[in-house]
């Protein structure tokens, strides 16, 4: 079981247990199941899906921020979280282009 917190600058958008979640990381979707290794991943723009333990799911549009997984505690920090897609101009929809080219990237 995961305990998930989705936090935007304005408020805590979601707080509760989940059986799994899929988040839009900077380079594509990333799934998190219970007993995931500790992870810190940069988020892009896209949809965050949280599967609830009793069945059913919650979905949010998120944009930018970071996903942190540690001891089955998942924190999604995001600049934007809402049921509608974020305003297109405010957030960089394709951070991967810069990131691949950036000097800190170990893949380069």
């Amino acid at each position: 079981m995961l305990s998930v917190r989705v936090v935007s600058p304005e408020k805590i958008v979601f707080e509760g247990d989940a059986s799994s979640l899929v988040a839009p990381a900077w380079d594509g979707l990333v799934g998190v199941l219970p007993r995931h290794a500790p992870m810190l991943a940069l988020l892009g723009v896209g949809q965050l899906n949280i599967d609830l333990p009793g069945g059913g799911s919650e979905a949010f549009h998120v944009a930018m921020g970071v996903l942190k997984v540690e001891n089955d505690e998942v924190t999604v920090l995001t600049e934007y979280a809402g049921s509608a897609p974020p305003p297109p101009d405010v957030y960089d929809a394709h951070p991967e282009d810069d990131i691949v080219a950036s000097p800190g990237n170990p893949l380069v």
């Binding site: 600058p9 991943a41 940069l42 930018m64 970071v66």
Partner: protein, 286 residues
Amino acid sequence: MAGARDVKRRIKTVDNTRQITRTMELVATSKLKRATDRVYAARPYSEALAEIVASLYAPGLSEKYPLLRQPEKVRRAAVLLLTANRGLAGAFNANLIKEARALLGELRSQGIETELHVSGRKGIAFFRFRGEEMKTMRMDMSDAPSAEEAASLVDGLTDRFEKGELDAVYVVSSHFKSAMSTPPGHRRLLPIEPSEGSSDADNFILSPSGDVILERMLPLYVRNAVYTSLVENAAAEQGARRTAMKNATDNAGDMLETLTRSYNRARQGQITQEIAEIVGGAAALE
């Protein structure tokens, strides 16, 4: 002594004013409640963000990231002053303006070139009257500031800091300690000085890498600092307005009491005089 009718007119005026100030007090109270909720709701994000930045930050990274760059000599600094768009909030705006002028004076005395950015009609009106140059003027911050508004306020400054056009950026706003205590103050936004965390990021899978995550988090950190300032400032404004309007209502009550007393005295005097006149007239007839 003023005639009873004049006093009565004044009582009416003061009573009307008291009704208005009492309404404003009630409005401010309910707005304060919502603004305070926003202040508290904003804290989890700030805390979590600060924690992540601290865990990725290590001293010695300062040279690598423009936003952490600690200039050896500060040549040019920007001051971002947050004031309210509306008055009738006691000394709220005046205190912020005073704080900003003190900060500007201090920076200038160190030989630093300064530039002023003002948000809020009241601050703009003051500096325009003084004839001081303002680099940007914003009047579009709402009572319920959003993260986007904060971003639009500070992103320009962040860019210019990165390019090296600015060596420091300060923000002047009210700290919201409680509804009663909202002292004005300033803090430095840039360069960022993250609190040193236990570098526990080593055990994490980092995607894409610690450096890139930190690089992307730093602008968000600055935005969030401004967002927090905006939200706290909005709450402080409502708190100040509530206090000011409560005082005004109380004062109007005191005034009404004295006025009612002098009205009664005047009325009594008039009656006494009339009786004296009637008695005098009757005595003259005898």
